[in-house]
């Protein structure tokens, strides 16, 4: 595959590959494609887990089957306690996972930016 350099309005930027002495290329531990995948999954994970966290907090019945409920219960009170506890735990778990995805977003975004500078991709 031959790489065609488009020269429209770029003002004659150097098109030599990065030399090994530039610090960015040694700090990039992900390739271009991997960092792009991570970036996209992090965006999606952030949005979806935030939404799910809020929905768990609002105790939507749609998520009733996703709760960590253990075994047969003696009475209704115990069951309801577990349900409320389950919703709360899951809400917090989703929000923590969302925060983890924010970190992943940052890292993969930084890696993607580093890789961007040394390739001619769009």
């Amino acid at each position: 595959m031959c790489v065609y350099v488009t020269n429209r309005g770029k003002g004659g930027r150097s098109s030599l590959p990065s030399s090994p002495l530039r610090p960015e290329s040694t700090m990039a531990f992900c390739g271009y494609k991997f960092s792009l995948c991570l970036l996209l999954i992090s965006c999606w994970g952030l949005v979806q887990l935030l939404l799910m966290g809020m929905l768990f907090y609002c105790e939507t019945p749609a998520f009733l089957e996703d709760l960590p409920l253990t075994g047969p219960y003696e009475n209704v009170g115990q069951y309801m306690n577990d349900v409320h506890h389950g919703f709360g735990t899951n809400a917090l778990n989703c929000l923590i996972a969302a925060c983890l995805y924010i970190i992943t977003l940052g890292v993969s975004g930084w890696q993607f930016y580093l890789n961007q500078k040394t390739t001619y991709q769009v």
Binding site: S15, G45, L49, F63, N90, C94
Partner: protein, 841 residues
């Protein structure tokens, strides 16, 4: 009138071009890309055509350019692409181009051969350097030993290594050991040693040392490992033998002086020469890079120019030379609405060539079938490609691509039906569409990417429709949204004692406490997502709407055939094909759909419907339909208040419909061939009468009528068989195609279930953690769930639904009206040359 509804009207034109203007006119016509030239010399060999020399010269130039391109790729010289579109140069400029390319090619070849020689020399010098080094080591070692021996034996210092260690025997002269040093590949060394041992019967002594650094082979450019060897032997015969073996095993020998001082001198000389050589070599590579970089700026422009010249000469080869040899005659197909544009292009070409003779464009009447030309833009071209893949439309037949723009995404969405996956697809499609210009300019290779990118508008529409059907099915990653408030409520039976014994709680829709009577305004009620009998309920709904959508689609197809019949003035088909087909389809399967609607409206659960119209009494539509065809009249069951039929007179009505449909079958089969036969006979009689009336007059009339006779050959048996096939295809096909639309139900069920399984088996694990460390688990599991969602549910299911939608269009819809027997319009155009496609004209 040009539109996507029908293919364009085409005219066959005769074009008279003066010889000077021909080249420029064809160049201008190629730029606008609206003219398809007919080959007027089809039986002429490629080597006997008029412009074969020019084409050959163009091929030569292209070969040289490709050679330059490979050299540039080898050196990673970037080829400039500034998107400009150079015009085809004049014929006389071809010579300049040829000279430039010749010069460049020769320069490159010279530089390459020089570089090769230099590399060979440098390799030899390096090997010699290593030989000297290694032999130096051998002799040093020996001298250390021999100095030790010397002290012991008290002989003179500085003995040569080759001097006989044993005292000279009486009668025999002093025998000197000779040696030969050289270099060979490491892999060949064992074979070489064994050969020496066997041939010289063990009378030679070999010492070897590997060269640590790999050396570059000048021809292949690979790095190889080599070994230095030094062979000691005694006597002339052994010397010749050793030399021959070295040559045979392709080991290079180097002259190595015995004395240490000479060796040192030689080593220094070699070092000096090596330095000189490396300087010259680097200068050569620099020069080569400079030449390539200078050429790279123009390479793309040259390629485009040469390809354009070649295309023009190929076209000129198709033209005829007229009697006076002063002008060229061409026959071409052009869209009638573009006559003005073409005349302008011809005028421009004549002006550029400086000729005073205006080209003449004559319209011709012809019986030939014109090509099919659909004017498409970037949005419709995707859909048009889908239709053309099945078959190019017959000339001026209704173009199904127009309707496909809506029905295709809709049918896809009915099968895909998940708003979450739809959003993912929308993100991808929107990125492709918004960054369209940049992505086209990036010229990414990869067939799969090009397929996705070419269908970006299709994917965009499919995703939008999928979000809509996802909202209707109330399915977002297998979870439902409750936006308006569910119509179902838990009843008073839901006490703790009851629930301890029951597995499930049943909610009866007839009870207004449990079902409010006001259905969920838009889409499925969210309660169904957690209902155990969700699938049974959804099946009934999805199967019925699949049939309804299918019957509507097919009736629509038959209606489109009406447009075709009226346009081609095929009134026989209109009366004896369209009308029976419509009656059959509506009478049978339209009636099925109407029964579904009647049942939906008239029957229900709740106090508003009486006992007769309760959900218990709703008759099965399918059984009613089967009984209709089998003419079964079931007896009423007195124990229940239910009636067999939905309304009074249904039996009579169904009987009438059945009889009508049965009559339609012979109506489709017999009248048309018989009428065609009688028409043909009357025409023949008419022609015969005309020929008798104009007896003795030879000329145009007779020939045209004779010509007409040939075309109107009429085999009654063929026509009848064709009509029979057509009838059977339609009648049997109507049943099978209606059932085939059930795939809309099947695929949407499969998609929903896959989605649910993925959530329950993967995501639920992450959500069922009872501690806060479950967040790490959730973090990882989400990534796995996301990857599986994309790969299985979006890509695989999307591809599957796409394929089934395509089949529904190609077979079930298009078989009702589409002939698809045309050939595509392939004008002379330079667009693919400029965009850099590797199409060889």
């Amino acid at each position: 009138m040009g539109s996507i509804f029908r293919s364009e009207e085409m005219t066959l034109c005769q074009l008279f071009l003066s010889s000077e203007a021909a080249y420029n006119c064809v160049s201008e016509l190629g730029e606008i890309g609206l003219v398809q030239f007919r080959d007027l010399n089809p039986d002429v060999n490629a080597f006997q055509r008029k412009f074969v020399h020019e084409v050959r010269r163009c091929d030569e130039m292209e070969r040289k350019l490709r050679y330059l391109e490979t050299e540039m790729k080898k050196d990673n010289v970037p080829i400039l692409d500034n998107g400009e579109n150079p015009e085809a140069p004049q014929p006389r400029e071809m010579i300049d181009l040829e000279a430039t390319f010749e010069k460049l090619e020769n320069e490159m070849k010279e530089v390459n051969s020089n570089a090769e020689t230099l590399k060979k020399n440098s390799l030899e010098l390096m090997e010699l350097k290593h030989v000297l080094l290694t032999t130096q080591l051998f002799f040093d070692e020996h001298e250390v030993q021999s100095t030790m021996n010397i002290e012991q034996r008290d002989s003179e210092p500085g003995t040569s290594i080759t001097q006989n260690l044993l005292p000279a025997e009486e009668g025999k002269g002093p025998v000197q050991l000779g040696f030969v040093a050289g270099v060979t590949l490491r892999e060949r060394m064992p074979m070489f040693e064994r050969m020496l041992w066997r041939v010289c019967r063990g009378n030679v002594f070999v010492r070897r040392a590997d060269i640590q650094q790999p050396l570059e082979d000048p021809i292949t450019g690979e790095e190889v490992f080599k070994t230095v060897f030094i062979i000691f032997f005694q006597g002339e015969q052994l010397k010749t033998k050793v030399k021959k073996i070295c040559e045979g095993c392709r080991a290079t020998m180097y002259p190595c002086p015995e004395a240490g001082a000479e060796r040192k001198e030689m080593a220094q000389g070699v070092k000096g020469r090596l330095d000189d050589l490396s300087t010259v070599l680097s200068q050569t590579t620099d020069h080569r890079r400079r030449v390539l970089a200078a050429a790279a700026k123009h390479l793309r422009t040259w390629f485009i120019k040469v390809r354009k010249i070649k295309a023009i000469y190929h076209t000129l080869n198709m033209l005829n030379l007229d009697v006076t040899n002063k002008c060229l005659i061409a026959e071409c197909w052009i869209p009638t609405s573009d006559l003005g544009v073409i005349r302008d292009a011809l005028r421009k070409g004549t002006e550029r060539s400086g000729s005073s003779v205006e080209p003449i464009l004559n319209r011709m009447q012809t019986q030939l079938k014109p090509p099919t030309f659909h004017r498409t833009n970037k949005f419709t071209s995707g859909f048009q490609n889908l239709i053309d893949a099945y078959g190019v439309a017959t000339y001026r037949e209704v173009n199904p691509a127009l309707y496909t723009t809506t029905t295709f995404p809709f049918l896809f969405a009915v099968m895909f039906g998940d708003a979450g996956h739809g959003v993912l697809m929308l993100a991808f499609a929107a990125w492709m569409v918004i960054r369209e210009k940049a992505l086209i300019a990036a010229k990414m290779s990869g067939e799969i990417w090009n397929i996705f990118f070419g269908g970006r508008y299709i994917i965009l529409l499919m995703s939008c429709f999928s979000i809509y059907t996802g909202i209707i099915y109330n399915d977002v990653f297998s979870k439902s949204f409750n936006i308006f408030g569910s119509a179902w409520h838990i009843n008073s039976n839901a006490t703790v004692e009851n629930l301890e014994h029951w597995e499930e709680l049943t909610l009866d829709p007839a009870n207004r406490e449990e079902y409010s009577g006001k259905p969920y305004p838009f889409g499925f009620d969210p309660m169904w997502q957690i209902a155990v009998n969700k699938i049974a309920f959804q099946n009934s709904y999805k199967m019925k709407i699949s049939i309804i959508i299918g019957v509507i689609h097919m009736i629509f197809g038959v209606v489109v055939s009406l447009y075709n019949h009226t346009f081609f003035r095929n009134y026989i088909s209109l009366v004896f094909e369209f009308i029976p087909q419509m009656i059959f389809l509506i009478g049978m399967f339209g009636w099925l759909c109407i029964m579904v609607f009647i049942k939906w409206i008239m029957y229900g659960a709740g106090p508003e419907f009486g006992e007769e119209r309760s959900s218990f009494c709703a008759p099965s539509v399918l059984i009613t339909f089967i009984n209709m065809v089998l003419l079964k009249k079931e007896k009423e069951d007195p124990t229940t208040p239910c009636k067999v039929f939905m309304f009074e007179g249904q039996y009579i009505l169904q009987l009438v419909l059945l009889v009508l449909c049965i009559i339609c079958v012979p109506l489709m089969l017999f009248p048309k061939p018989l009428i065609l036969k009688s028409l043909h006979n009357s025409k023949k009689r008419h022609h015969e009468q005309q020929a008798i009336a104009q007896n003795g007059e030879l000329g145009g009339e007779a020939t045209t009528s004779g010509h007409g006779e040939e075309e109107e050959e009429f085999e009654f048996s063929e026509v009848f068989i064709e009509q029979a096939i057509h009838t059977i295809e339609f009648v049997l096909g109507s049943v099978s195609h209606t059932a085939s639309y059930l795939r809309l139900w099947a695929l949407s069920l499969a998609h929903a279930q896959l989605s649910e399984v993925l959530w329950n088996m993967v995501m639920k694990i992450g959500l069922s953690q009872s501690s806060y460390t479950g967040s790490i688990m959730l973090y990882l599991i989400f990534a796995a769930w996301a990857a599986l969602t994309i790969s299985i549910l979006v890509l695989m299911e999307g591809l599957s639904a796409f394929l089934h939608t395509l089949r529904l269009h190609w077979v079930e819809f298009q078989s009702k009206f589409y002939k698809g027997e045309g050939y595509a319009f392939t004008p002379l155009t330079f667009k693919h040359i400029v965009s850099g496609d590797e199409d060889d004209a």
